[in-house]
């Protein structure tokens, strides 16, 4: 596993584990065990900046006009374990 992959995997694990004390302890343990690859990944990104790009979605001027909202309640979900909706993607950028 390269350092950059370790960074991405650690971010995923951190997001998936809840905010309970036990979960936080597991995350801390994982981060310490992966300290070497995580450090290498951080240095790699700082020097090579392979993750950098122009943020066209937020840095391009745009106007949103005449907004029409159609929201319909379709049901309810109970007993969900995560504080975030599964599959939420409203901040995800897809274009190159």
């Amino acid at each position: 596993m390269t350092g950059v992959q370790a960074l991405a995997a650690a971010a995923d694990v951190t997001a998936s584990v809840g905010s309970s004390d036990e979960g936080s302890g597991k995350v801390m343990l994982l981060l310490l065990l992966l300290a070497g690859p995580l450090y290498a990944g951080w240095v790699h990104l700082r020097y090579r900046n392979t993750d950098k790009r122009h943020h066209h979605e937020s840095e391009t001027r745009s106007d949103m006009l005449d907004v029409q909202a159609q929201d319909v309640r379709t049901g309810a979900r109970t007993g969900l374990r995560s504080a975030r909706m599964q599959g939420a993607n409203s901040r995800k950028v897809r274009a190159p």
């Binding site: 343990l29 310490l32 065990l33 020097y47 391009t60 159609q70």
Partner: protein
Amino acid sequence: MSDLHAPRPAPDGERVVRTGGDGTDGIVRCERCGASEATLNVATGMLRCSFCRYEWSTQNALQAFDLDGAIGDLTGVVVGSGTADVTADPAVTLRCTACGADVVVDTTTAVHARCHWCRNTLSLTEQVPNGAVPDMLLPFSVSKEEAVEHVAEFVRKRTFFAHPRFRAEFTPENVMGVYLPYMVVDVNAHATVAGEGEHQTRSYTVQVRDSEGKTRSERRYDADVYDVRRSFDLHVDDLTVESSALRLDRDTARTSNNVINTILPFDVENGVTYDPRYLQGFTSERRDVDVDALRPAVLGQVSDIARWRVDETIAFYDRGVRWDTTDVDVRGERWVSAYLPVWLYSYLQTRKDGSTLLHYVAVNGRTGETMGSVPLNVPRLALVASVVEVLGAAAAAVLWVLT
């Protein structure tokens, strides 16, 4: 040659705005003294005759060609004549109007060539469809001295793990001013995004028993589920995309074009009409990608902008929204080709297996924004990362024992 100079026939629904002017290729003379040498005065943004010091500038391009009208009024496809599909040879042969010699200009890297016989500078001014002469350009406003300082500062913060050969050969004074080709696009669209959102209604703690029979607390959430749809007009102004195949290559294993992409955006609204003398003393890269080839990427970016903007309207869905569809109905689009100014420091790294990786440190020639790629000293990084790993593992062991 005559057919190359004919206006491009407009496809259905496409309106071509002529931006070529009346100039002809060859010697471009100072209006006051007739000299053929003039360069950009970066401090003022004006052109200056190298002999009589007369200074002047060209018009704002978007205003001059009426390419800055309200985006909401935009219908169909409007293009500047400098966006014509690239069909002509990049090498252009000019006849020197002073001595009659034939001079070849390789538009891959320049729009100028000096006559070998009489030493006059010959320039490309006519819009031949080879991607060399754009609709507009944005002159450098960041001086070379400032660019050198930006590059040196960027690398200075990244020296410990830098490759030893790079450190030994690093010479920020070798930074080069390059006019890179871009397309600047306005889009008038109607967007509809639809999906599902969740609004939290309750948060509570439950006691759960694990496989070993121990009881622990866990958080649970209840939420209402909604079908969410937003429909709106979207006006996108000056979306800027690279228009050369070389710069669109984002394979970070062999090049670092992504750092050049990172220094966008430019203040393209201040672009001026093309005059080849702005490029004297700089290099340039001609455009070799056409409007039709760039359209899918532009529409993809417009979709991203639509989803990004609509985020302002979904605060109610505090658990998030999953967009399933994004429909962008383009009513009008306007394409302008432009040379935009970038200071580039480049370094070609040759690996042990013979493969190469081209590193850049790029400085936006207008804003000074800097981004770059520095080759790594992998053995040193591996050694330090190993030490960090040992320390981390020791700390993990202590944490395990304590808990």
